[in-house]
Amino acid sequence: MKNTKRDIETYKQKIKKRGFRLTETRMVILDVLLKSSGELDAEELFLLSHKKHPKIGMATIYRTLRLLEKEGLVVRVGFYNNKAKYRIEESSGPLAEKPDIRPSKSGLDKKKFTGDAGYPLVTRYEGNLEDYKNVERINTIQNQLSQWLGELSKIKREKELALEDVIKDFGKVDKIVSYHENQRSNLIQILLDVQNEYRWLPKHVLLYVSSKLNIPLTDIYSIASFYKSFNLEPRGKYTIVVCTGTACHVRRSMYLLQRIANVLGIKHGDTTGNYKFTLETVNCLGCCALGPVMVLNNKYYSNPSTKQLEKLFSDLD
């Protein structure tokens, strides 16, 4: 149980001490934070504050939170896996200096971003360093990688390391990029070839391509997520493709999808738990006379029954 009155006075003093104006809106937000027993995320804070003071907009919330955080009066928790939540920083005396951002159970540690992560990297660089003209670039990539790994929780990291065999060194990527003449405008072609090589687009490969072609990573992700053929998640060993073009739809391709779901337990877009099968839909294979069509292992099947499907899937290892 907090004694709200006392606390509000303390915090008012703290803010005034740092030279910031205690506006009406700031007081309302502070009040809401103090009154809450747990942590609030920005939207909840907005809704509660807005009720008391309709002039408060989301921008005000963010600006105030940023200010309070900077001054160490509010702490952000639960950063990466959930929405950021905030709570009042409780301390017995006046804060002498600006604190670092504190890590919480799944939060982040600012120190880790300076480079010495201490975590093993997914790829070990093999080969002659001199072959790569820009050693610094490699170092930057490795730093970013360690940052990335630092962000993952333990379980995810193990899964990542387990996929190490799928990922070799960057030499292959270099070959692909130079085949396409290191041209920015050939980015889509490069990504298609990279995906053929690795079966998906791993994050660090994208980081490498981004630095090699000097394209901001944002652009690469925009393009990779815009087009349907790019997979940003690892795929199963076999890809089952079902055509859902108009002709096959009219011949009830949805029943075929349902039958596959009955047998394997996955919907389209999913991969089975053992990473054996991935179910995908395409817009038209051009074999409308065979509709509804399913392609597996480069063979085309016309409207397979449940029995046929069971046999097919169990025959493949």
Binding site: Y227, T246, A247, Q258, C287, C288, A289, L290, T306
Partner: protein
């Protein structure tokens, strides 16, 4: 005897005489020769044409001594009659064998060597009469195959194309015509874009030519986002040189030296074939520097598209080739004036380019003699859905829809009742029965509320629900939309909500007005044609099939028995013999019953997956679908 397997590299062709010489040479090769054309398009891929080819060669080898004439086997592109694939055509007699299986090959080889026929593989019409000649078969009789001359050529062999008259137009243009003359001829012929818009190609070429800026580019749009249509794929797979020739002619007319072919990466066979075609054309000197000693240079590159329907739109395609996310641009400056990297760019569909060589060869007047006044020439359609003869057809403009569906298509599968035909893909609309006598023409189809599109024609019968169809297309568009502008993105999102409500039986009467208002927003406020043509499917289904929408809303029933939430699966007690097959097949154990006693489906558990219908033997057919408030079948 010789079996032609290897493609020989010859010297460059750089004059009219050399081309004629080459054509003559190839023709000599085929003189007195029996040609066996085996359809190897992707449509027949499931039937393993590779297998058939190998078997055929084996058989021919086995019977080497008995062969007294030269026999050549072509692996051709799609022959169009996908329903009856695989197809073999024997020339010069034009005999056509349908639905050939591997077991038939030895007999075919044996009979062909002896100059005899295999009657059981011929086409049988409704009266049982046999039709041996390919051009007499109803499917082919009403077509006018100008571009799809696939049947006598191997798409990976440029010599075959030359033999059939290929590259003559290019030679004629580069040696005897100026670029302006080529442009004038195309303009005169009224060649309208075959990609959907129907914009006169000659005018577009002229705008690009007159625009300021160098270098100029020519693009081929082979992205074919339309699900359920594959004419572009088969043109590139089966006759890639016609597209190349058209492209080079266009570049010559416009004054461009660099071309790009944007083709979807799923079309692996088409990409292979066009790459081989480019290589072979370069060998012969039809590409590269100083083509045919005319001083004209031209290079072409293939660009793979990564899977986006919206990238088929012209400004989006330009953006995609530049290596960015294929979003349409604000179109106040046309791409013909400022396209790729800000330079004048001409974009046309595959089919448009494929028509150009014929126009130059035979003249604009010949082209205009086919088709209607407003739309000259032929159009390739992929006729799919509930027709008997699914496949790829090339018909002259002006033929009625009824002729296409009944005469060429053979009528509705299983002789059910025709309901509607959908043209133009997700950007088009439906055409009901009373408009079936509409001629196929750009303007007529647009007037009816639909559009020609790139060539998809989906036929639907009484078992297809129009509400579900509109929902399917809107869902497709919402995922394929680039998401940039609010009316398209949010409008489509709200449309989906309304449709889901209607399909679940929670529709309200105001929803119909809501659909119309959303269509208005989409049409008026969208940035590009994806959003503004999305209204076609909504408005046409509302206009012609309003009673289906009302049945969903008022009676909570789906007359076509498609919309899952509105139908119930019930077992007819009189027909059920208690065989327990459906009980075992149900994935959620919703069917209960004992042997020899009628089974019952628990409606609360049933997920309507159709597994029981599949399991119930046809002679019983005891599982029925019912709809409507009172469970009465409407």
């Amino acid at each position: 005897m010789e079996l032609k397997l290897v493609i020989e590299i010859k010297n460059k062709i750089n004059s009219v005489d050399k081309l004629k010489e080459k054509a003559h040479e190839v023709e000599e090769n085929y003189k007195d020769c029996i040609e066996i054309s085996l359809c190897s398009g992707t449509g027949c891929k499931a039937y393993l044409p590779q297998e058939l080819y190998r078997l055929m060669l084996e058989e021919l080898d086995k019977n080497k001594e008995k062969i007294n004439k030269k026999i050549v086997v072509h692996k051709t592109g799609c022959l169009g009659y996908c329903e009856k694939g695989p197809i073999i055509i024997i020339y010069p007699k034009e005999l056509c064998y349908l639905q050939v299986k591997s077991e038939d090959i030895p007999e075919i080889v044996e009979k062909t060597i002896k100059d005899e026929v295999v009657e059981r593989l011929f086409y049988k019409d409704d009266n049982g009469a046999l039709i041996p000649k390919v051009s007499d078969i109803p499917f082919y009789k009403y077509q006018n195959r100008i571009i799809l001359i696939n049947s006598r050529m191997d798409p990976r062999n440029i010599d075959d194309y030359i033999r059939l008259g290929g590259y003559q137009a290019l030679v004629k243009a580069l040696t005897a015509m100026t670029p302006d003359k080529v442009l004038d001829e195309v303009k005169k012929a009224n060649l309208r874009g075959r990609g959907g818009g129907g914009f006169p190609a000659g005018d577009k070429w002229e705008t690009t030519k007159n625009a300021a800026g160098e270098p100029k580019y020519v693009l081929v749009n082979a992205s074919e986002g339309n699900p359920g249509a594959f004419p572009n794929r088969l043109t590139i797979e089966g006759n890639p040189h016609s597209v190349l020739e058209g492209l080079i002619l266009a570049a010559y007319a416009i004054g461009s030296n660099q071309g790009y072919i944007y083709i979807k990466q799923e079309y692996s066979l088409a990409i292979e074939n066009i790459n081989i075609a480019i290589e072979q054309a370069r060998e012969y000197g039809f590409l590269g520097k100083n083509i045919l000693n005319s001083g004209f240079n031209f290079e072409v590159k293939v660009h793979k598209g990564a899977g986006a329907y919206v990238s088929g739109e012209s400004s989006a395609l330009n953006t995609a080739i530049e290596g960015k996310a294929g979003e349409p641009r604000l179109k106040y400056i046309h791409t013909a004036v400022s396209g790729l990297w800000g330079k004048p760019t001409n974009l046309n569909n595959v089919e448009t380019y494929a028509n150009v060589p014929q126009i130059i060869n035979n003249g604009a007047d010949w082209f205009m003699s086919i088709g209607t006044k407003g739309s000259a020439g032929t159009k390739i359609f992929s006729l799919v859905g509930k027709v008997k003869n699914t496949g790829l057809v090339e018909v002259p403009m002006g033929i009625t829809l009824r002729d296409i569906i009944y005469k060429i298509g053979g009528g509705i599968k299983d002789d059910k009742k025709f309901k509607a035909v959908q043209t133009g893909g997700p950007s088009g609309g439906v055409i009901p029965e009373h408009l079936l006598d509409l001629p196929v023409d750009f303007d007529e189809l647009t007037k009816a509320g639909s559009m020609m599109g790139s060539g998809g024609m989906v036929v639907m019968d009484e078992d297809d629900c129009m509400v579900n169809l509109a929902y399917y297309f809107i869902k497709f568009l919402s995922e394929e939309s680039c998401g940039k502008c609010v009316p398209c993105r949010e409008g489509l999102r709200q449309l989906i909500y309304v449709y889901e409500r209607i399909m679940e039986g929670k529709g309200k009467i105001e929803d119909l007005k809501l659909l119309e208002d959303l269509a208005l927003v989409l049409e008026g406020a969208s940035l590009c044609a994806l959003g503004s043509t999305a209204q076609n499917i909504v408005l046409t289904t509302l206009k012609y099939f309003r009673q289906e929408y009302e049945a969903h809303i008022y009676y909570h029933s789906c007359p076509a028995l498609v919309c899952k939430p509105l139908i119930n699966y019930e077992i007819n007690k009189e027909k059920c013999t208690g065989c327990m097959l459906c009980v075992k097949s149900c994935p959620v154990n919703a069917i209960s019953g004992e042997v020899k006693k009628p089974h019952i489906i628990d409606q609360n558990t049933c997920i309507k997956c159709d597994a029981c219908v599949e399991a119930c033997p046809e002679k019983f057919s005891a599982i029925e679908k019912k709809t409507g408030l009172l469970g009465v079948k409407l």
